[in-house]
Every structure is written in C-alpha cells, then in structure tokens.
Subunit: 349 residues, 2 copies
C-alpha cells in the first residue's frame, strides 16, 4: 500500500557535515517528524565516528563523553588481549564486560517546505549532556502536547540504553526533563493528549534474565513521571515479529481509534513495520492488529547499508488523507513512503 518516494533516500550521510573535526558521518536515519509552522521538521539521528588515522588497521577508535562532559576518543589496539574488537559496532572488555561503541549519535534538525527536499542544520540540535548519554543520543520521537513539542530519545551510556525527554516550544530553546525510563528501555511513543485524565505512552523494556521485548503502556500526570505499567502488544512466535516489537511513530488519532505504526524484527534482525488499533479511551486494549507487515525492506537502500534489511520509523505526518511515513533505511538514510490513511486502516484484521 505504501509508495516509496522516487527521490529516496531523502537524506544521506554525505549530506551531513560532521559536528567536529576528525569525525565522519556514517548515518543519517531514524528521524522524528512533525509539521511546525507549515514546514515538515525532522530530528535526524546523525551517527559519527572518528576518522581512522594511519595506524587504523591496528586499532579501534571509540568515542565517548567523559564524566567531565568532554568528548574523548580512546584508542584500543586490536591485539590487546583484554578486548574483543571483532564486532564493528562495539568493543567489549573480555573480563569486566566494559563496553564502548565505535560511533556516537546526536540529533540534528532538518526542515522542508514540501516534505521531500530537506535542509539539514550544520550543528547538533541535541547532543549528549549527562552521564546517561555518554555514548550519545538516538532515535527521536516528536509529539505536540498543548503548545509544546515533547521529544523523547534514546540515551546510551555504559549504564545501558535508557529514554530521555526534552521539550521545546519553538525548536530553538530546549528544556531537559531527565531520564523518564531507566535501562533497558527505548522506543517510547507519547500520545498527544490526556486520556481519562492521564498522559499515556507506549514503551519497550528490554529485560535481562527473561521476558522478551514487548510493548508496554504507562500513565503520567505530567509527562515526566510514569506509572501503572501494563503490557499491550507481545512479539509473536514464528514469523516476521518473532524477535521483538517496539513503538514506531507516536499514535495517530483516527475516527476508528488510535492508530499505532510499530516496528518488529524476526530472529534474523530483519525489521518490518506493523500496525495496531486501540479504542480512543483505552490505549491498553488492542482491538485490531494487521497480521502481515504494512511495510518491509525491499528497495536496495533498505536491503543493503550499514545494517541491512531494516525499515524503522520514528514519525509520520498526516497530510490530508495521506500518511507520509518517514523511515530510516538500513540504519543509514532517511526515506519517505506514502499511503492513503484508509488503506492502512484497511490492513487491520
């Protein structure tokens, strides 16, 4: 039902200047999306890594923020017996379990009048600013609530993967609201209004021990403090959502109920998008769920890339009756696909 835009990918790593000397951009993807003052505004995840120097073959460069808030680059020799450097995404200490990432992300603003041709700002809109973000900030979702825009994002650090919250009224001044979900938890999607007198969100815990990667709901009096956690949508054995499910775009109000586009991965980490529906007054109760993916990696820029076979959304925009799906392709670029809202609703079982 979705038509890929012919100009895909809309934003590519080479379109973004690195935020500092000595770094190169390797990913521009997983963008939150909203319409603000007539423009489509994206908050793009920009992933950077230190440019390898001449000794690059013998060492790995890992960037992180020190406790003093300085970005430092540590060199880890590939022949250091204490470290496992076999995975290109991270380095891990064999005995202590200490972990470093080989890239670090920030959020960058992009604007467009037509929703297709974006101007990416040269500097970060939000970068790591506290210990819980020492490995960067990732995967923004933007939700208008009242006269403010709330932006939740993934905060990554040696302490794990958590979710932080900031807000803005003009996309210039940013107020921080701290970590709203401790490790391990991401893929938070906020509802744009109160339901039964409480703010509501979906979130996706990643428990150690056992339990699986499922979508939960929480309630809040103020968007900053969350409770009354309940499971909502579980991964399904055997198929395209057997590995995990997690929130995608913030829920969309439709006449039939709240429409949620979420992501799911199978055991081979192939990421597709699914859709479910809840009543207007009960976001914990799934009343319809599409059995098949509504969108899956097929185009070359989705199948091949930094991490191939991934389509992943952090935001959609409703333009009249058309759903404009902004999505990250292969953990590398920002893309767009469009479908009539009615067609998406028809996919619900």
């Amino acid at each position: 039902m979705f038509q890929r835009h012919p100009q895909n990918p809309l934003i590519r790593p080479q379109d973004a200047a690195p935020s500092r000397p000595g770094f190169e951009v390797i990913g521009t993807f997983n963008a939150g999306a909203v319409v603000y003052q007539g423009e489509t505004v994206l908050l793009v995840r920009v992933a950077e890594r230190p440019v390898q120097n001449e000794a690059g073959g013998n060492q790995v460069l890992v960037p992180y923020y020190s406790p003093e808030g300085e970005l430092v680059v540590r060199e880890i020799r590939r022949d250091d017996p204490d470290f496992d450097t076999s995975d290109s995404r991270f380095v891990i200490h064999r005995h202590t379990g200490e972990l470093f990432l080989t890239s670090i992300s920030h959020l960058r603003l992009a604007r467009s009048r037509n929703g297709v041709r974006f101007e990416l700002e040269p500097a970060p809109w939000l970068k790591a600013g506290q210990a819980e973000e020492a490995f960067g900030v990732e995967d923004a979702r933007i939700t208008p609530v009242g006269n403010r825009y709330y932006v939740n994002y993934t905060a990554v650090s040696p302490l794990g993967i958590a979710t932080g919250l900031v807000s803005t009224h003009d996309f210039a001044a940013v107020e921080r609201h701290g970590i709203i979900f401790p490790p391990a938890n991401r893929d938070v999607t906020l509802f744009p209004c109160q339901i039964n007198g409480r703010y509501v969100c979906y979130h996706r815990p990643m428990p150690g021990m056992f339990g699986g990667y499922n979508i939960w709901m929480a309630e809040s009096p103020d968007l900053r403090h969350w409770g009354n956690h309940r499971p909502v949508l579980r991964a399904q054995p055997g198929g395209w959502e057997s590995g995990r499910v997690g929130g995608g775009a913030p829920p969309i109000w439709t006449e039939r109920g709240w429409l949620s586009i979420y992501h799911a991965a199978d055991r081979q980490d192939r990421y597709c998008l699914g859709v479910f529906l809840t009543p207007h007054d009960d976001p914990a109760r799934v009343i319809a769920r599409a059995r098949e993916p509504i969108f899956q990696p097929e185009a070359p820029y989705e199948v091949e890339g930094f991490f191939g076979n991934v389509v992943f959304t952090c935001g959609v925009v409703l333009a009249g009756d058309t759903l404009r799906l902004y999505y990250g392709a292969a953990d590398e670029s920002v893309c767009l696909a469009e479908a009539p809202l009615a067609a998406v609703l028809d996919a619900l079982a």
Copy 2:
C-alpha cells in the same frame, strides 16, 4: 559488628502451612519489616511448590496463574525434547524461550511482640492478582509514609521481573497501585518522606544487552509515577560486589544522613550486605560507602540451604540505638542479627 540471634532461624518453611492443598512450602524468607502498633510486623515471602505425585521422577510440575486468574499446575515431562528441565528452579522451552518457574511465592504477615517469636498467619496477605504476577509476588519492603504503609514487591510473570506497589493503613485492607517499574527491575526501596518536595526511591534495573546491575534513584510526586532516573551506586569490579548491587532495607534517617543497607553479590552469586550514606537533602550523592561487607554468610543456615551463601535483607527495625536486621538466609528462612547503629555508621569509609 552484627550479632546473630541465638534462636535463628526465626521462621522456617516447616513453620508455614501451605496456602492450598497439594502444595508444600519450601521457603519462608526475605521479609519486609516495620513496627506497627507496638508489634514487629513482617511480610514474609512464602515459596510453595506442587507436591510431586508418583510419576514425580519423570516430570516437573510448574505452577502459574492463568489469564483467568486460576492457579494451574502444568506437567512437563523430563523427556520432552522441547523443554530444558535441568535447572531445579525453572523450565525453559528450547526454541521459543518460554519459561516456567517450579515454585510460586506469595506474601504472608507475621507479628511479634518481642521481635523474635513470630506468629505467621495461615493465609496469604498478598498473592498474585494480575497478569504481571502470574509467577507470584516476592520480596516485600514496607515503608511508612504519612498515615499509610507502602509495600513494594517483586511481580514475576512470563513478561519478566517487575515491581508492584500496594498500600494499607491497618495491614488488613490493601489498595493496589499497579506496576511502578516495568521489567526488568526490582529491589526498590522507598524513602519515608519527601525530599525537596518529591518522594524518592532507589531501584535496580536489570538491563538486557549491557549496562550491569546497579542502583538507580527516581523521584515521584505521588509514589505511583516515577521519573528523573539517575544512577547512584555501581557494582565494583573484582570483589564481593562485582556481580551486582541492589537495594535492601528502606533508607534510615540518621543524624549523619540517610543510611542504606544494600545487598551485593560476586560473580559466584555469594550475597553479602553493604552500607552507604547520602546527605539528607541529596539521596543521589553517595558521601560514604563501606569498603567491606557489614554482614556476610557464615552461619550454617546461611551457607547451606535452598540457595546457599546468601544473606539478603528487605527490612530493618531501629529499636533505640540498636539496628535489628531481619534477613533471608539461603533463600529459605527468616533470621535476625543485631548491631549498635553507631557501629554500622562507623563502618562507613
């Protein structure tokens, strides 16, 4: 510094009647503690399992609450190739990862005039009552706040290990407040008053992926909704707290600051107790921490048992200048050890 009570263990499995026919009690341990109307009140974790029938050698009986709220016992054959039954504590499906526990816990009230000789009630005080508790409720902590007693506990289910909250004013009527921390999170300790206008607790996330098992802090306007999560105390490599740390007894106000007795385990799962101190107005800032355990498994009933080499506290009582430490020994019995409060404070580096 702690003196074990000569009548230890104070409560043993054989002291507790099973809550239903066909079950046997295998553990009475990890009790929350508080003084109420002149008596010491404990909320004891009572672990039960189905009594094996004649075919016991060939099968494992796993108890759990069905979605309809009925306690059912499923028989899993040891020769079923789909299940791994090699661990006595749980059974796991080899392909789907589906998990069952071989025992199920509830919370039971015990009262004592002298804090040593306890009367255990015959029926559960709190048992599983929602989907997030299908495998039982465990490890209560009791905190007086205003004119109510708040009891947080571990809620276990196929969805993971979470923390629930209830409250009571008389230890008879119980009001439920839902799941306050989603999986995987337990070892929550509430402060008995607001600090800087917010309620405060420590909690212990168990992240998947990476991050370690460390103590975090959160704030709340109402004890039900929690935010502003920050790390407080990290596991230390190499020694008695290299595996994990987690909250023990609810924090105690002293003239020097808030005193927290916590548990720590090494990589061999030997559980000891440690202690740290924070300022009255800043529970996120550790100003002193004992380098050595203040209490560790040494007595026979601590070294041997259902899960040996464990001392684990969920509650202490301050009796004059004496700290009465109630603790679970070897995941099997309730024990008591006493120390002068001043001696515990002297242990702080």
